[in-house]
Symmetry: C2
Subunit: 549 residues, 2 copies
């Protein structure tokens, strides 16, 4: 739309140093003439010559301010161009290369590190190459992961966060961020439905760590002596989670010393939702064997099917047997923002702890995951070690704001700002619109393929979340009777289509087997830039690539 603008800006970014040196007339010419097709190359070399500049010439170097600004603005130019292209459907989602190709130094992109510095010119080339050979996770046709999209406000928030470059452990060095975290967590607890938003919480480096926290604090609640004496101070404890739940519950079981054998998997209905009666039967079975049931994880939005376990019924059972109820809403927690969809999490207000990843359904840049806890003080009780060098009680301010000792981490990255800024910029209403739109889009996909020739749904009915799971059946398999041969062939269809998709770079969607079901596509929509036409494109692409298999 502005044919001259980028050239202008680029020229300006390169040239504003020399502007003052060369005087106004020259500056006017460079800045305002559109007829300068060969100017870029020449001017870059002669005027802001990054080939003779090195990291050591930047701030804090003497006279480093000007090259620093030039360099940062040049980087920003690279990044803003990338942002523009990310949203441009005429660009590829990725430019696929095999590991050995990239390692061999494709087109001069050399990943090896060396003893001697490279020029800033080379560093800028490295930045461009890094983006060129990466994957555009914000592209409207990237559907590969639960986290997708590129939120501009979130991006600005991340740029600011890295510029502030501080650490969440004390109010002393992160006063604003610590307060933002506190206020945001309170708001999230209000949405969960805990009275007055009371309780506790932290942002952690991801849903797996948040889930690990939930198991740790459950153990601390019922067997606080484990903190000092270890697992030998407790009876044989067992944890319950759905066979469809995220593997992080098992990972937590392994890491925290429970053992994966003591993570008991619950059966689900054909939609992937836990069957409450199975939970109760397995609790009774465990008790009979002399084990002690401790913890139940209910998944709100499972990874593959997007299933919501029936939280209220599970909560009844947890109350009956006095068990800790955790809700893993890493993927589905965002639906609490939607008046239309939040009923899928009914009962979450009865949970003892909740995992909720704004970096998934809410489009916040990675990483942004919260562990929320109903009981105040238990996080600190579980994790504090009272390190004197960090958490001095004799500071001049209210040290209850020093939250670091609640964490299993010491240093903790500032994950809150981008989320806080997005919330400010969109309002709760904006998140709601985003979520409703994504769910509408996935229903559009579901309606489009449920009766379409060549498709089979993995489970019946409208998906609860944005996950749409389906097989594409190539014409060669359509008449074939069910049986091992068809199953084996069908199992290879999704990987083949996916491989071709990646090599053509047009779109990306995930696939996986699940239980006894052979490889199927799992479509998810969390990308705010996706539209119905992108869904149509995906289907066309699957059929184009898979037709002759």
């Amino acid at each position: 739309r502005w044919p001259c603008r980028d050239t202008l800006l680029q020229g300006f970014l390169q040239k504003n140093n020399s502007l003052e040196e060369k005087g106004r007339l020259a500056g006017q010419k460079n800045l305002l003439s559109c007829d300068n097709s060969d100017r870029d190359a020449r001017f870059r070399r002669t005027e802001t010559d990054f080939s003779n500049l090195f990291a050591r010439d930047l701030l804090p170097a003497k006279n480093g301010e000007e090259p620093t600004m030039q360099f940062l603005l040049e980087v920003v130019d690279i990044l803003t161009n990338y942002v523009k292209k990310t949203f441009d459907r005429s660009t590829k989602v990725l430019d696929f290369h095999h590991p050995h190709q990239l390692l061999e130094g494709i087109e001069g992109f050399n990943l090896e590190l060396s003893d001697q510095p490279e020029s800033l010119e080379q560093i800028l080339v490295d930045c461009r190459d890094t983006l060129k050979y990466g994957v555009r996770t914000g592209h409207p046709r990237f559907f590969n992961q639960l986290s997708s999209g590129l939120d501009i406000i979130g991006l600005a928030g991340e740029w600011l966060t890295s510029t502030a470059n501080t650490n969440m452990f004390t109010y002393e060095i992160a006063p604003v961020f610590v307060l933002m975290e506190q206020l945001t967590l309170k708001k999230m607890r209000e949405m969960i439905g805990w009275p007055n938003g009371e309780g506790d919480g932290l942002f952690s480096p991801g849903g797996a760590i948040s889930n690990m926290y939930s198991v740790m604090i459950a153990r601390y609640k019922y067997f606080p002596e484990v903190k000092t004496k270890g697992m030998s101070a407790a009876p044989r404890l067992v944890l319950f989670t759905s066979e469809h739940s995220h593997y992080s519950i098992k990972k937590a079981g392994a890491a925290l010393g429970f053992g994966t054998d003591n993570v008991i998997l619950l059966s689900t209905d054909e939609r992937g939702r836990v069957i409450p009666a199975d939970l109760e039967a397995k609790i009774l079975d465990a008790k009979q064997k002399g084990y002690v049931p401790l913890f139940v994880n209910a998944t709100a939005g499972s990874t593959v099917y997007g299933a919501f376990d029936p939280i209220s019924e599970i909560a009844d059972i947890c109350e009956k047997y006095n068990l800790w109820l955790h809700v893993d809403g890493a993927w589905g927690g965002g639906l609490l923002m939607s008046r239309k969809h939040r009923h899928k999490l009914n009962g979450i207000e009865r949970a003892n702890s909740v995992t909720w990843n704004p970096h998934k359904m809410m489009g916040v840049p990675l990483q942004c995951s919260a562990i929320l806890v109903r009981e105040k003080g238990i996080l600190a009780g579980c994790n504090s070690m009272c390190a004197g060098y960090l958490f001095q009680p004799d500071k001049q301010y209210d040290v209850t704001y020093d939250t670091g000792d609640k964490a299993i981490q010491c240093g903790r990255h500032v994950d809150i700002f981008k989320f806080w800024l997005m919330w400010k910029a969109k309002g709760t209403a904006g998140f709601e619109q985003h979520i409703d739109k994504c769910l509408d889009l996935s229903q559009y996909l579901y309606n489009k393929i449920k009766n379409r020739e060549g498709y089979e749904m993995v489970f019946d009915g409208v998906p609860q979340h944005t996950n749409v799971c389906f097989w594409y059946i190539p014409p060669s398999l359509r008449g074939m009777p069910d049986g091992d041969e068809r199953r084996e062939k069908l199992h290879r269809v999704a990987p083949k289509i996916k491989a071709m998709m990646m090599e053509s770079g047009t779109t990306m969607v995930g696939y996986q087997p699940q239980g006894n079901k052979v490889n199927f596509f799992r479509m998810v929509v969390s990308n705010p830039s996706a539209t119905q036409s992108d869904i149509d494109f995906l289907i066309d692409e699957i059929e184009r690539l898979g037709h002759d298999l």
Copy 2:
């Protein structure tokens, strides 16, 4: 130096949209006139009117490209101004306010979230306010934390990382970053001295998590059945670490089910270094009690004293008793980059695992911590759960590059790029210079105060790392005989000076008690922008603020 430049750039960033609309002459005037002191406010409102723009007007909105670019460039303007000021000694390190002051909404800075969106103008104000009330951790006089400084290349790397917004779990969606991580970890292992840089590793969300990994994999090495059966499958295991070591070893003991009582603290000499004979005695004692020694942590650069445990002698004992040797080099690992100082870590090549945080001594922006392991495959053995939806074996590329299942996390933030880019830009030689310079500076401080009136050193001799620990004795205490009264008074000196320092905002340095030693200052230098004059300033400031206490 360039009186007109910032105004020019700022003007341009605000105005380049309207340039095309208003024609060249108007553009020339705005861009090139320096005589426009009242232009900013007017033009911001009338031309790029962010007060009528909202997040929903940015990409992916229709016609969103132009406001997106305008908004991002405006944010960059805020950030580059912050960067400039960060290095400017005439600015404050912080503008201190109490939590309640910020929560009350100081000068209109409202931290509360609401249902409705705020305009982009307000969002930009929020960004400015966030930086205004924060702490400049890159300021040449910020000495408060092991992580300090603002590396421009690292900052550019972080901006790019957040623009790419992807996840480390698979090669599929982070091809370049996964390879960079692999090559960088290999380079780090070479520096440790493991043959051919063989081994394994990961970047984790911080040193505490890296240390936790080391304990987990040690346990898996000797008692792999704990993964499935839990701690009840193992005898009573004990871990050994210095009484001066980081509290994360104890946190790991608590979290992983060992119990803090089974983390046995080793005595140190007066410089804070583990006494090897004490380790051997405590191993024998534990064995005699029927416990099973598993793991020894040697600290390379302790948090408070900067002490390096004698790794070789500890390695001898670990070999003799067949124990896992971990080196926590979170703080001191960077010294491996320095030919002059790496001898302090002699013996590290005998370790089974190493924690090394480039975000501390090497000035890489937060978060950047590596866990390095000598034995290949053990990380995956310990942590893999083989989730089918993520780690499909039937992909078209070599899936050994899908490293996600080695981690306890699922999603994992891209921490590698900024570090890789800094290494490219500085070379190993540049890191070496940085480290040597910081150690020289701390020796300058040590030499300056060791015999100066009013100072007492916490331990004798040249510090091993950049940590210089000292008491400032106000004149009122100088004649006082040692005893409880003096101790109590001295204990209150550092907190008082620190509080005044924060309120005046001129510099920041940490203090803490340690063992039976009352509060003392711990000076550390990792900030590349610090000079001798900043050290002088710190001493002057301590004396100015503390003289009348």
